[in-house]
């Protein structure tokens, strides 16, 4: 066995181990508070209870494993009420086999999934989708380098969608130890349709409702949080059956449901 072979095998083993570990890993998020985008700087911060969150977004491979058992979520069988025509369209299909992810995208986050499908996946793991508050709370934690964070976030928003989605987990985790909340995909939240802008985003600031944040930056916590405005805009353009080429998800686990899965072998 040559030196190169040996190195390759070690690398492969390392990748497998990390993959397996990462796949199983959930990060405990301590309870905390954060100021939502739509609140004014003087408004009280919102409390978020402690919960657990997937370290990485759900991968194509994980989702393929899920649909191999939960066949009603396979692209060939999905009820059109629960997903639009683009559902898992980046998976490979041919006449005889069931659609499957491309080998080079196995570790990439699954996209083109509807909210219904994402919700079903998380339920099958004993979890649920994170709430928007939870997601934004975790995502608001930066890494060690705030400037690099901003560059990454704004850079991603201004880049076009790549032909192949890169694998998750390649960038440093944020302060909570969670990867890829920014710079890779959009993510579904449980209540994506509750905290939203309207399609006429400029009128939102006049609406008598704190949930309608809009682009009119007046009154928002930080007028420079354009990236956050974009997330709210994207969420508000969605319906539960919609699927988008760069929209995926990860699962959250509240203590009760976590206990439930721990007692079930």
């Amino acid at each position: 066995m040559t030196h190169t072979d040996l190195r390759r095998i070690i690398a492969l083993l390392a990748a497998l181990c990390t993959g397996a570990l990462l796949a199983a890993e959930r990060v405990s998020i301590p309870a905390g508070e954060y100021r939502p985008l739509f609140a004014s700087a003087t408004a009280a911060k919102q409390q978020v209870a402690g919960f657990q969150l997937d370290r990485l977004p759900v991968s194509n491979q994980q989702f393929a494993t899920f649909v191999s058992k939960a066949v009603r979520w396979q692209p060939e069988r999905i009820n059109p009420l629960f997903a639009d025509e683009h559902y898992l369209q980046h998976w490979q299909k041919n006449a005889t086999t069931v659609a499957a992810p491309r080998p080079e995208e196995l570790q990439a986050p699954v996209t083109n999934v509807s909210w219904f499908a994402a919700k079903a996946y998380c339920q099958a793991q004993g979890g649920r989708l994170p709430t928007t508050a939870e997601w934004e709370y975790v995502a608001s934690a930066g890494s060690v380098d705030p400037q690099a964070d901003e560059k990454l976030i704004l850079g991603w928003y201004s880049a076009t969608t790549p032909a192949f989605m890169p694998a998750a987990g390649q960038r440093a985790a944020n302060a909570f130890g969670v990867h890829d909340l920014h710079g890779l995909i959009w993510e579904w939240t449980q209540d994506f349709s509750a905290s939203m802008t309207t399609g006429e985003s400029r009128g939102d600031s006049a609406l008598d409702n704190q949930f309608f944040c809009g682009s009119a930056a007046a009154g928002s916590a930080d007028p420079s949080q354009y990236a956050a405005f974009m997330r709210y805009a994207l969420r508000s353009s969605l319906q539960g059956r919609y699927t988008v080429a760069n929209l995926g998800f990860r699962c959250a686990y509240s203590p009760s449901s976590l206990n439930a899965i721990e007692t079930t072998p």
Partner: protein
């Protein structure tokens, strides 16, 4: 009064409008990319016009060597030109390409209704929305994306024009073009190469790096200039997408004979510069009496020469010396103190170590001192400024070229078989900058003219003196 009216009469208008709506012929809107405009509408009746517009996020050229991720209506900046008639009913389909990262919508200033259609057309990536409106008011209107954050969607290029022709049509002209200004904000400074990301901070401060017509530097110059002939009347549908700047739209050497002010019904005559608010448009008509290249600028003039807001209308046809004579004489004017132009020297002195560095530094000297006349591509301006690219006059004697830079030149010369009569001022440069710029000229645009040294320049300077003699 109302009680005495027969019921049948009351119902008549309703019946009629229902009948009319049902009877409207359906047609698909012809959409064009700038600078083209759809042909004038010849039908006299109203129609139900189906407009299908796609939002798409694309990487395209902003300037030479500079790319940008534009968000577009129809794949280009500005967005496709839409032309309908007053009273038309428009069935609008907005499709957001599946590869889009952002949701998009459209606010057409021609729409009477909340948001100008924005809420009704709010569309996730990979989806389509439909809404309808009736074109009540004639005029030229801006449309743009109004999805949060609105400023960023507009700053990335999401705007265009929709013309609602008045019932009687617009006065007939010979040629129509579509020109739209926009300001862009990039991380890098103007001209900094590579794919440049959007800079939110500069956008908020309203300090653009680029101010351009039709989406990029040079979109309307050189080969892409718009063209017309002497005797023709030209109409420009001019818009300003912003997001921030107000445009002072001016065509150098022309006077707008008729302007539909702010794109509305009122007209003005004999206008030099038309002010375009951010998010507004105007229709300017002018007859072409003489040939030549007419430069379109934002007359906030640093935008034109330093940020890209420059376009060209090339007019061909016979001269009319009574209207414009061209240059009738050119003599050297020697005021007290000499005719030598003083140009600021670079603050920090960096010396080129080899010919390649000399050429690179020489390009900067050229851009600052020579390009205005000889043009950045070295091709000069026919009948005015001689070409340097593949110039037989230049390449025949490189030390003579050094002398001309040092001392200027006046009188007729023949370059590539064409005679040029003019004067070039002496350019006050040190020996090194002179050597650099001459080496740039000798080795650019296909020239293979060898090189000169700083010592050559010093020698020429010592043996020649500012000359005003005729050729």
């Amino acid at each position: 009064m109302r009680r005495t009216l027969p019921h049948a009469l009351l119902a008549l208008p309703m019946l009629w409008s229902a009948f009319a709506a049902a009877e409207l012929p359906v047609e698909n809107a012809v959409l064009t990319e700038a600078p083209q405009v759809p042909a004038p509408i010849t039908r006299t009746n109203n129609a139900k016009v189906v407009v299908k517009l796609e939002t798409k996020e694309v990487v395209k050229r902003m300037a030479d060597g500079v790319d940008y991720t534009f968000w577009t209506f129809g794949g280009n900046v500005p967005g496709s030109f839409i032309r309908i008639k007053e009273g038309d009913e428009v069935e609008f389909h907005l499709s957001n390409h599946p590869s889009s990262k952002m949701p998009h919508n459209i606010d057409l200033h021609a729409v009477t209704g909340p948001g100008g259609g924005a809420a009704s057309s709010f569309t996730a990536p990979g989806h389509s929305s439909q809404f309808s409106f009736k074109a009540l008011n004639p005029g030229l209107y801006v449309y743009h994306c109004a999805t949060a954050p609105v400023g960023m969607h507009i700053a990335n290029g999401m705007y265009g024009l929709i013309l609602v022709e008045p019932r009687a049509g617009l006065p007939k002209v010979d040629k129509e073009f579509y020109v739209m200004q926009g300001d862009f904000y990039t991380k890098g400074a103007y001209g900094e190469a590579g794919l440049q990301p959007f800079d939110m901070e500069k956008a908020i401060k309203e300090q653009p790096d680029y101010v351009v017509f039709n989406g990029s530097v040079g979109a309307l110059t050189g080969d892409k200039a718009i063209t017309a002939n002497v005797g023709e009347t030209v109409r420009l549908f001019v818009g300003n997408g912003g997001p921030n700047l107000i445009s002072s739209f001016h065509v150098i050497g022309e006077i707008f004979d008729r302007v539909f002010i702010e794109g509305g019904t009122a007209t003005n005559s004999n206008v030099e510069t038309e002010l375009l608010a951010a998010g507004s448009a105007a229709i300017v008509d002018f007859k072409l009496e003489v040939p030549g290249t007419f430069i379109m600028v934002d007359h906030s003039i640093f935008r034109a020469f330093n940020k890209g807001a420059l376009g060209m209308l090339k007019v061909s046809g016979p001269e009319d010396k009574e209207i414009y004579s061209g240059k009738q004489s050119d003599t050297v004017y020697l005021p007290e103190g000499g005719a030598v132009q003083t140009l600021s020297e670079p603050v920090k002195k960096v010396t080129a170590k080899n010919l390649n560095e000399q050429i690179a530094m020489g390009q900067r000297v050229f851009d600052q001192n020579c390009a205005a006349c000889h043009q950045p591509n070295g091709e000069g301006i026919p009948a005015a400024f001689p070409p340097l690219a593949k110039s037989d006059f230049l390449l025949k004697d490189k030390l003579r070229a050094v002398g001309i830079v040092l001392n200027g030149r006046q009188g007729a010369i023949e370059v590539n078989g064409k005679t040029f009569v003019g004067a070039m001022p002496a350019i006050k440069l040190d020996d090194e900058s002179t050597a650099n710029v001459v080496n740039y000229i000798l080795n650019s645009w296909g020239n293979k003219g060898g090189s000169v040294t700083v010592e050559d320049v010093a020698k020429v300077r010592a043996t020649s003196k500012p000359a005003a003699e005729a050729h």
